[in-house]
Point group: C2
Chain length 156, copies 2
Amino acid sequence: MVKRSPLSTTEDQHMDNKAVMSLFMKHIWNEGREDMVENYVAPQYKIHHDPGDPWHGKTLNLDAFKNRLRVSRAPFPDQCFTTREMIEENNNVAISWLWQGSHLGQLAGIKPTGKMITMSGLTIYYFENGKLSGHWQMADRLGVFQQLSSFSPEQN
Amino acid sequence: MVKRSPLSTTEDQHMDNKAVMSLFMKHIWNEGREDMVENYVAPQYKIHHDPGDPWHGKTLNLDAFKNRLRVSRAPFPDQCFTTREMIEENNNVAISWLWQGSHLGQLAGIKPTGKMITMSGLTIYYFENGKLSGHWQMADRLGVFQQLSSFSPEQN
């Protein structure tokens, strides 16, 4: 008899998608743990739709995903997503989320303002065999630029 | 024995939420049928989150909903939403959508440009007893203003 840890996973027996979703948001986007990317992300990750994201429309391998994580988090190194709700059906999980971060690095040509910025959005995440294989997302980027420009109007 | 039309509904036996969702988008937002609002919308409809929408955070009765429908459709009277996907769980339906419309009426102080505008977004709709009781939404409003301003830069 093979003894199996309760946390062990196989293709047939993997973590609940919502649990993966929560841990992915915590470890990857909130904490920036590049070493944990392969725990949650499939070998090919497609950004189906994400207006304003430099990788919109692209398919990323794990190294490219880690690069995107690093570059995306740089302007807001303390960023934190709070997931409001998750709606799951057929390996798709839609989440609504709130976000905040301190603007400590250059963003789209705007120098760091130090300002605490808030944002909100919705994302549909697609799962394959318990890992994330892509997303379709909309974030309130106009709201972000309004907050940044009110702080540093001379840069607009 | 009571004979019942296959389309008749009661509180216990109502249309599938996804079917309501599709018909709501077609009749209400695409066709502007104010006379059909009560078929789909609950007596109290809460706009939980919808940045840029003048009714963000408000709870609307049916008359207020009809007014919002009229005012919202005025700048783009031929607007059309295309629902890409629906994800349903526990009386919540998340949809991703594409939108297009001709800019034929005043919008946020910008005079009609006649331009065909495209937009995308995500919405979570909340159901109660087969009717819509509210939403949480994010639309790509920055994308809309970028399209409008490139067409009429003197108005920015």
